[in-house]
């Protein structure tokens, strides 16, 4: 494995970068889309169940099918990385919009009302009170989405884009175990490190959850 890494460091490094980019860009997009969606699902309670059900269905679409069909829908090239980014963004939203909604719903109504009675207007109440209190739930969802995305990127290699997944296809084609091993180890490592970073950030910004 070390031998393989030494001889192919450039390919592996590039695959790793691509992997990171393909996994994390959708997290960013997904998070930005999920915040308003999750908020709407709480603000208009009748929206909650339709939204949650829709996200559930979206999440159940097999990733390979999505990778294959998206070019048809979006009009992108089959080999365009946009397909993977869009597909993973959909999964991220499916996971995160629900956690944002659940996080906001976890805010004690008494606390929300107290905020209103103190003189918070709606937007500032959301930013200063409700979102911070919802953070532990939202960040838990973010961890799941991040790890899930990092593993799903590899599936993209079956359509020719896929970061570390390309090491798998290469290994299969050559009947050669080393690249597969390197790919697996690196993507597990990547997922672990990303998860750890989120946990550390969470500890830093929600000190109150450990106070009791």
């Amino acid at each position: 494995m070390i031998e393989y890494l030494r001889n192919n460091s450039e390919i592996v490094w590039q695959a790793l970068q691509e992997h990171l980019y393909l996994a994390l860009l959708p997290i960013l997009f997904g998070f930005v889309i999920s915040l308003p969606l999750g908020y709407l699902a709480v603000r208009f309670t009748w929206l909650y169940h339709p939204l949650v059900n829709t996200f559930g269905v979206l999440y159940s679409i097999p990733s390979l099918a999505l990778f294959v069909f998206l070019p048809v829908i979006l009009g992108t090239k089959v080999l365009s990385p946009i397909n993977v980014v869009v597909a993973l963004t959909i999964y991220t939203v499916a996971l995160l919009a629900r956690t944002v909604a659940d996080g906001l719903r976890s805010v004690d109504p008494v606390v929300a009302q107290a905020a209103t009675a103190m003189g918070y207007r709606r937007t500032r109440r959301l930013i200063d009170v409700e979102l911070p209190i919802a953070l532990p739930v939202i960040l838990a969802g973010l961890r799941v989405a991040t790890v899930s995305n990092i593993s799903l990127v590899s599936v993209g290699s079956l359509i020719g884009i896929g970061g570390l997944g390309q090491l798998f296809t290469r290994g299969f084609q050559l009947f050669y175990l080393e690249p597969i091993l390197v790919g697996v180890v690196l993507s597990v490592l990547l997922a672990g490190i990303a998860d750890l970073i989120i946990v550390l950030v969470q500890r830093a910004i929600t000190p109150w959850t450990r106070a009791a």
Binding site: D108, V110, V111, Q113, A114, A115, T116, A117, M118, G119, Y120, R121, R124, V129, P132, I133, L135, T206, P207, W208, A211, A212
Partner: protein, 325 residues
């Protein structure tokens, strides 16, 4: 002054919470809204800061209709304390207290400095400043709740069952401290409770509401105990109101006899008694002493603690009877 002008609140579905309520809560006084559940007391309170909108009628603060004021600005000018405190769990005690000043545009530093003083006012040391609400007891949380409501020095405070979530010992302590605080501050306070004893103990005025949201009586606690307006008020106030009304009568005029047959120490202080009273105590205290002391005698002491008189069972009864004439 807070004025309710013929206020009606009918909830969707047709339940009447408040039924033609007209009421004046005087400036600088503590008015308690009391009644059984479903009497509309909390609804009435929450209409003052527009958390709930009346179906008809008006609520005025110093002559200005609250409905015509900006909601958020109105609320920042009114302190609000609720049961279980409703503190922000993600903010330290200090930042909870600093909430409204920050909303009003104070810098965080200014607001925090002022918050330290408020914590002291409500009996919490600076050690609590950096803690989170989850690290406090119920009574401590309630103190922070009061400090938070006072932070912007609002002329008006609304208190919704502020002391009902704490145990009786802590509650009595909070009552005493709160009355002392109110004596200093002289806020216009509207407080809601279901506990008539609390209402009588704390209120300058008490509004008794009946189920269906109608005002049954608006009176001082003393008047309420002496002359309940009807059977509902009488039964709500409770059966021992005669005894309780004695808490408003001072023992200053009660005639006493020279001390006789009581064991005293060399400074003249009585020994071995369950308790003594002073001129400043109420007749209720004296009555209680007479009933609980083995000899049926209550001993009065002067400012130095020395016994200066005593009164017996019969003498007290005669005095109480004489007051009726």
């Amino acid at each position: 002054m807070i004025t309710f002008e013929d206020v009606v609140k009918v909830y969707r579905g047709g339940a009447t919470a408040v039924d033609h309520l007209s009421l004046e809560l005087p400036t600088g006084k503590l008015t308690v809204l009391v009644g059984p559940s479903g009497c509309g007391k909390t609804t009435s309170l929450r209409m003052i800061n527009r958390m709930i909108a009346p179906t008809s009628g008006r609520i005025l603060i110093d002559g200005k209709d609250v409905a015509e004021q900006d909601e958020a600005l109105l609320r920042r000018s009114i302190g609000y304390v609720i049961q279980h405190a409703g503190l922000f769990p993600h903010r330290t005690v200090l930042d909870n207290v600093a909430t409204v000043p920050v909303l009003l545009g104070k810098t965080r530093r200014e607001a925090r400095n002022a918050a330290y003083e408020l914590l002291e006012r409500v009996g919490l040391s600076a050690d609590f400043a950096k803690r989170y609400p989850a690290q406090l007891s119920g009574g401590q949380q309630q103190r922070v709740g009061v400090a938070r409501a006072l932070a912007a020095d609002p002329p008006i405070m609304l208190m919704d069952e502020p002391f009902s979530a704490v145990d009786p010992v802590v509650r009595a302590q909070l009552h005493t401290e709160f009355l002392r605080l109110q004596q200093d501050l002289g806020k216009t306070i509207a407080m809601v409770t279901h506990d008539i004893d609390e209402a009588i103990k704390l209120g300058d005025h008490v509004a008794v509401l009946r189920t269906g949201g109608r005002l049954a009586q608006f009176a001082t606690p003393r008047e309420l105990l002496a002359n309940p307006a009807d059977d509902f008020v009488a039964s709500f106030v409770g059966r021992d109101r005669g005894l309780r009304s004695l808490s408003f009568d001072s023992a200053a005029e009660l005639p006493v006899r020279p001390v006789d047959g009581i064991e005293l120490d060399e400074a003249g202080r009585p020994l071995g008694l369950p308790g003594v009273f002073t001129k400043g105590d109420s007749l209720r205290v004296v009555t209680d002493l007479v009933i609980s002391s083995p000899g049926g005698i209550a001993v009065r002491v002067g400012p130095d603690g020395a016994a200066d008189g005593q009164v017996s069972h019969h003498e007290l009864a005669d005095y109480l009877a004489s007051r009726r004439r």
